[in-house]
C-alpha cells in the first residue's frame, strides 16, 4: 500500500545528510563544549559552526543565535525573557489571538504576574492588521509577539510592516517563525524583528534542537539558569548532535530555498483543486495566496475530522485534524474559531501539509481516496441528511 505523509507541520523526517552530519557527535566526537581540552574544543567548534549556519539561514549574526530544546522553549524564553528583562519600561504586551499555545500560555502567566495583555483578533483569512497593532501600542508596551505564519491555517502575517511600526515606537518585537523557517525565506533584517523562534524538526532537522534569535543589544532574562552555556542566556550542556543537525538542516534549507517554494506551490494547488473539484460543501481556511507553500487546511461540512483521519490512516494517508475529538481537550481549534469558522465545520477540518518528498502521484492518490471517504461519512451523517431535506424543501 502507498504511504503518503501529509503531516509535515507536525514534524518532518530528518534529512539523510543531517543524520550523517550528526552521527560522529554521538560517538567519536562526544566531548562537552565547555571543556578546554581538544575533545571539548572539537565539540565547541561544531556548535559554533552550526550557530553560523543557523544564523545565515535567517540573516542574523552568529552571536545572536541561542540554541534551545524546542520551539516551545524558544517561545517561552522570548515572551517571558523579554517581558521580564524590560519590565522597568512598562508592563503591557501585545499578541495575536491565533498564536501557538507556547506563546499564549506564557503570556497568561505574565498576566498573573501583573502584566497587561492585548490580544489582536485576525480577519477571516487569519491576517493581523498592522494598524490594529499600532493602535494597541501604549507607553507601557514592552513587547509585541506576532507569529510569522500560522501553524494550522498557514496564513503569513505582514511581519515586516509590523516590524516597521514597533521599531518606530521603540517596542520590542518577537515573531514565532517555527512554522515558516525552512519553507519560506525569513530574514530578520528585512522583518525588523528583535527576536525570532525556529525549530529544527520542522524543516528536516532533528527533534530537540531549536533556536531563538535575539538581536544584539536586546536584554533577555534567562529562563534556564545555572550554566554558562549560550553566553549565559541558556544553561545546560548543549545537545551537540542535535545542534549540529539543526545547523546542517539550516544549511540545506538555505541552499534549497528557491526550489522548495517552486516545488511545493503547484503541488499544494493541485491537491486543493482536486479536492474542490470532487467534493462539494467544503471551506478552504486561511488566505488564498498569503500562505505557506505546503499548507492545505480544509473544512468538510457535515463530517467529523477524526473519522476522516482514521479512514485516511487505513488508506496509508497521514494527516492532522482540527477537530475537537482529536484533541485531548475535546475543543476544536482556537485558530479556526478566531477566524470565524463555525464550530461544527471546525470539527470537520483536515490539515494537510506537504513536504519535499511528496510526489504528484501522492497527491493524485489523496485526491482519489479522500472524496469517497467524505461521501461515505456524509451518508452516515444526520447533519447531511437534514441539509439534503432542507435543500429539497427550500
Amino acid at each position: 500500500m502507498r504511504k503518503v505523509y501529509l503531516d509535515h507541520a507536525a514534524t518532518t523526517p530528518v534529512h539523510p545528510e543531517v543524520v550523517e552530519a550528526m552521527l560522529p557527535y554521538f560517538t567519536a566526537k562526544f566531548g562537552n563544549p565547555s571543556n578546554l581540552h581538544d575533545m571539548g574544543r572539537e565539540a565547541k567548534n561544531a556548535v559554533e559552526d552550526a550557530r553560523g549556519k543557523t544564523a545565515a539561514l535567517i540573516g542574523a549574526r552568529p552571536e545572536e543565535i541561542f540554541f534551545t530544546s524546542s520551539g516551545t522553549e524558544s517561545n517561552n524564553f522570548a515572551v517571558k525573557g523579554l517581558a521580564h528583562a524590560n519590565s522597568q519600561k512598562g508592563n503591557h504586551i501585545i499578541v495575536s489571538q491565533v498564536e501557538h499555545f507556547s506563546v499564549l500560555h506564557p503570556v497568561k502567566s505574565l498576566e498573573k504576574a501583573g502584566f497587561k495583555v492585548t490580544q489582536i483578533a485576525p480577519d477571516k483569512q487569519g491576517i493581523i492588521d498592522p494598524e490594529a497593532v499600532a493602535k494597541a501600542i501604549t507607553k507601557e508596551t514592552v513587547l509585541v509577539s506576532i507569529m510569522h505564519s500560522n501553524n494550522e491555517i498557514g496564513t503569513l502575517q505582514p511581519i515586516a510592516e509590523i516590524g516597521a511600526i514597533t521599531k518606530a515606537k521603540g517596542v520590542l518585537f518577537h515573531t514565532d517563525a517555527v512554522a515558516s523557517v525552512g519553507w519560506v525565506p525569513v530574514d530578520v533584517q528585512a522583518l525588523g524583528v528583535d527576536a525570532l523562534s525556529l525549530s529544527g524538526h520542522q524543516f528536516y532537522g532533528p527533534k530537540g534542537a531549536a533556536a531563538l534569535f535575539v538581536r544584539k543589544g536586546v536584554r533577555i532574562k534567562p529562563q534556564i539558569e545555572g550554566g554558562v552555556q549560550e553566553d549565559g542566556r541558556r544553561g545546560g550542556t548543549e545537545d551537540v548532535p542535535g545542534i549540529v543537525g539543526l545547523g546542517k538542516a539550516a544549511e540545506i534549507a538555505a541552499a534549497e530555498m528557491p526550489r522548495r517554494g517552486s516545488y511545493l506551490l503547484p503541488l499544494r494547488d493541485k491537491l486543493l483543486q482536486g479536492l474542490q473539484e470532487k467534493i462539494s460543501d467544503l471551506i478552504v481556511n486561511g488566505h488564498p495566496t498569503r500562505r505557506l507553500p505546503h499548507n492545505v487546511n480544509v473544512s468538510f461540512l457535515f463530517v467529523e475530522g477524526e473519522s476522516m483521519l482514521l479512514f485516511l490512516n487505513m488508506a496509508g494517508i497521514y494527516v492532522s485534524s482540527g477537530s475537537a475529538c482529536t484533541s485531548r481537550s475535546l475543543k476544536s481549534s482556537h485558530v479556526l474559531s478566531c477566524i470565524g469558522t463555525d464550530a461544527a465545520a471546525a470539527n470537520g477540518t483536515l490539515l494537510m501539509t506537504l513536504g519535499m518528498g511528496t510526489s504528484a502521484e501522492d497527491v493524485d492518490y489523496v485526491i482519489e481516496k479522500l472524496p469517497p471517504i467524505v461521501q461515505r461519512l456524509r451518508e452516515m451523517s444526520p447533519l447531511y441528511e437534514d441539509m439534503i431535506k432542507n435543500r429539497k424543501t427550500t
Partner: protein, 142 residues
C-alpha cells in the same frame, strides 16, 4: 490519545445498521455538532419487541462504533430490556473505550433512550424514560 480497541475499529470501519427507517416507531437525535458528535437512532417496534434499529451519526470513531454497537444490542430486545441498556454495557461490548471517549457511550445510551421516549409519545403513553445523569464532555485540559 489512548488507542481504540480492535472491536471499536471493527465497528468503526464496517458499522452495522447504518441508515434510516421509514415510518420508524421511535426516533431520537442527541448531541451537538459544536461538540463534534450528533447521533440519530431509529427503532421499529412490534409487539413490544424492537425488531429493527438503524442510526446516522456525525462524530468520531468512538461515536460511530458506539452507535453501531447500541443498535446491535437493542435488536430483538423488549422495550423494558432496552431501557436497561447502559452506556457501560455499550462500552464493555466494544472492549472498552479510551477515557476521553466514554462520553460517546453516554451519547449512545441517550440516543436509545430518546428514541424510546419518542416511541412512548407516539403511542400516546406516559414515558418511563429517564435520561442518563452524566452527559457531555469534560473540558479540563487544553
Amino acid at each position: 490519545m489512548e488507542q481504540y480497541s480492535s472491536k471499536v475499529m471493527e465497528h468503526f470501519a464496517q458499522p452495522h445498521n447504518v441508515g434510516e427507517i421509514e415510518n420508524a416507531d421511535g426516533v431520537g437525535t442527541v448531541g451537538n455538532p459544536v461538540c463534534g458528535d450528533v447521533m440519530r437512532l431509529y427503532i421499529k417496534v412490534e409487539n413490544n419487541v424492537i425488531t429493527d434499529a438503524k442510526f446516522k451519526t456525525f462524530g468520531c470513531g468512538a461515536a460511530i462504533a458506539t452507535s453501531s454497537m447500541v443498535t446491535d444490542l437493542v435488536k430483538g430486545k423488549t422495550i423494558d430490556e432496552a431501557l436497561k441498556i447502559s452506556n457501560a454495557a455499550v462500552a464493555e461490548a466494544l472492549g472498552g473505550l479510551p477515557k476521553v471517549k466514554m462520553h460517546c457511550s453516554v451519547l449512545a445510551e441517550e440516543a436509545l433512550k430518546s428514541a424510546l421516549d419518542d416511541y412512548y409519545k407516539k403511542k400516546g403513553l406516559a414515558s418511563p424514560v429517564t435520561m442518563p445523569a452524566e452527559s457531555g464532555h469534560e473540558h479540563e485540559m487544553e
